[in-house]
C-alpha cells in the first residue's frame, strides 16, 4: 500500500465517522504537520464538493415540478395525457402502472430479448441434425428477426402460420420446436408493440407448455402493461 492509498483510506474513514476519538486526534495532528496529506485532504474536499454540486443539480432537475408530458400507450391506442393532474392521477390509479408504463415496456422488451438468447441457443442445440439445414436457417432467421425487432410484419406472418401448424393434430413436423415458434411469435408481437397479441399467444402456450418459467415470467411482466 502506498502512502497515498493509506491516506486516502484514512480520509474516507474520517469523513464517514468511522475513526475512534484517538484516531481522529492523531489524524488531525498528522494533517497539520504533513503538507502532502494536507494537499490530499484538499483534493478530497474539492472532489466531494464538486460531486455534491453536480448531483444536487441533477436531482433538483429530476424532481423539479413540471407539467406532465407523458404519453401512455394502452392497448395500442395512444392516449395523450392532458396536463390536468387529476387525469394523471386517474390513469395512475386505474392502470396501476402510471407513468412507469414506459419503464415496464422497457422491462418487458429487455426480458424478452435476454431470454430469447437462451431459447435460441437451446433451439440450435436441440435441432442440430434433426431438421434440414435450409429449414434450420429459415427458422433461425425468423427467430432472430423476432428477437431483434427486424422485418416484423413478415416475421409475424410467417411465425403465425408455423404456430397454427403446431396446433394442427395432423401435422407434427413443427411440434418439436413448437415452444420456440410460440415464444418468438410472442416476442415479435412485443417488439411490434402489440402486447395484447403477445399475451394471448403466451396464455395459449401456457396450456401447452404448462409450468414453463420463462412464459410465466414474461406473462407477469406483460400483465403490468395491459
Amino acid at each position: 500500500m502506498t502512502d497515498d492509498s493509506i491516506y486516502n483510506e484514512q480520509i474516507d474513514r474520517f469523513l464517514k465517522g468511522k475513526m475512534t476519538t484517538d484516531e481522529e486526534i492523531r489524524f488531525k495532528a498528522e494533517i497539520a504537520r504533513n503538507a502532502e496529506l494536507k494537499q490530499l485532504v484538499r483534493n478530497h474536499l474539492y472532489l466531494i464538493r464538486g460531486i455534491r454540486q453536480v448531483k444536487t443539480q441533477e436531482e433538483q432537475e429530476l424532481l423539479k415540478p413540471k407539467k406532465p408530458t407523458l404519453v401512455v400507450p394502452r392497448r395500442r391506442n395512444w392516449i395523450k395525457i392532458s396536463s390536468i393532474a387529476a387525469a394523471v392521477a386517474a390513469v395512475v390509479i386505474l392502470s396501476g402502472i402510471g407513468g412507469s408504463n414506459l419503464y415496464y415496456r422497457h422491462e418487458v422488451r429487455q426480458y424478452a430479448y435476454n431470454t430469447s438468447v437462451e431459447v435460441l441457443s437451446d433451439f440450435s442445440v436441440a435441432t442440430r441434425g434433426a431438421v434440414s439445414e435450409e429449414e434450420m436457417n429459415r427458422l433461425t432467421t425468423l427467430f432472430t428477426n423476432a428477437q431483434e425487432g427486424k422485418d416484423l410484419p413478415y416475421t409475424i406472418e410467417e411465425l403465425s402460420k408455423l404456430y397454427a401448424l403446431t396446433k394442427d393434430d395432423y401435422v407434427d413436423a413443427e411440434d418439436d420446436y413448437a415452444f420456440q415458434i410460440g415464444w418468438f411469435l410472442a416476442v415479435a408481437y412485443i417488439n411490434n408493440g402489440d402486447y395484447n397479441a403477445a399475451s394471448i399467444i403466451l396464455c395459449d402456450m401456457s396450456t401447452s407448455c404448462s409450468e414453463n418459467e420463462s412464459i410465466m415470467r414474461l406473462q407477469k411482466r406483460l400483465s403490468k402493461i395491459l
Binding site: 492509498s5 494536507k38 474536499l45 464538486g50 407513468g99 419503464y103
Partner: protein, 196 residues
C-alpha cells in the same frame, strides 16, 4: 404537480443494473424476484413523487430508492422465512454517508486555498467550476465508484456488488487510482489558472 415520467424512467434505467446486482448479492435467495422488487420500488417512488410525499432527503435520491428496494426485499424474506434469507456474511453497513460535520472539520483544518497565498474568490470559483466539469466528464469506472461512495454514501462492498467487482478491495484500489487521476487533474487546473 408531478414530474415527467421520462426523467424518472431515465433514472430507473440508469440505476437498474447496479441495483439488481446489489440486491442479488445481498439477498441471494431472492435472485429470481429482484426484478419484481425493483419494479415495485420504482412504482412506489414514482407515486411518492407524484403525491409530493418524499421525505426531506438526508442523502441522495438513489440511496433513498435503494433503501426502498432493500426494505421490500426484507419484507419478502420475512414473509418467506424458509427462503434461506440473507447472505449471512453481510451486515447492514452498506450505507455509510459522508458526514457534513466531518467535512467542516477538515475544511477548517486545511482551508480551500491550494497555495496559501492564493485565497481570492476568483481563484476558488475557477477551481470549483473546473472541478464541476471534471466531475461531469468522469468516465467509468471512476464516476460509478466515486459518485456511489461520496454521493450515495455506499460502502466499497456495496459498490463492488453493484458493478460486478470481485471484492471490495477491487473497488478500493480502483477508487485510489481514480483519486490519483483527480489529483493530477487538480494540479493541471491550478497550472492553467496560473497561466491565464
Amino acid at each position: 404537480m408531478p414530474i415527467t415520467s421520462k426523467e424518472l424512467n431515465e433514472f430507473f434505467a440508469t440505476n437498474q443494473q447496479r441495483t439488481l446486482n446489489y440486491l442479488c448479492a445481498y439477498f441471494p435467495a431472492l435472485k429470481d424476484d429482484v426484478s419484481d422488487i425493483f419494479q415495485d420500488a420504482a412504482v412506489a417512488l414514482f407515486l411518492k413523487i407524484q403525491k409530493n410525499e418524499l421525505p426531506v432527503m438526508t442523502g441522495s435520491l438513489y440511496s433513498y430508492f435503494l433503501s426502498m428496494c432493500k426494505n421490500m426485499a426484507l419484507n419478502m424474506v420475512n414473509r418467506t422465512p424458509s427462503a434461506c434469507a440473507l447472505d449471512e456474511n453481510r451486515n447492514d453497513s452498506d450505507f455509510e454517508p459522508i458526514q457534513d460535520d466531518k467535512i467542516e472539520e477538515l475544511e477548517s483544518l486545511v482551508g480551500y486555498d491550494i497555495a496559501d497565498e492564493q485565497t481570492d474568490q476568483a481563484y476558488l470559483d475557477w477551481i470549483e467550476q473546473e472541478v464541476r466539469e471534471g466531475v461531469k466528464n468522469m468516465k467509468p469506472p471512476c464516476n460509478h465508484i466515486l459518485w456511489s461512495f461520496y454521493w450515495d454514501g455506499l460502502s466499497h462492498r456495496a459498490i463492488a456488488d453493484m458493478y460486478g467487482m470481485k471484492s471490495e478491495d477491487v473497488s478500493k484500489t480502483q477508487a485510489n487510482r481514480c483519486k490519483n487521476k483527480f489529483s493530477d487533474f487538480i494540479k493541471k487546473v491550478i497550472i492553467a489558472y496560473d497561466r491565464r
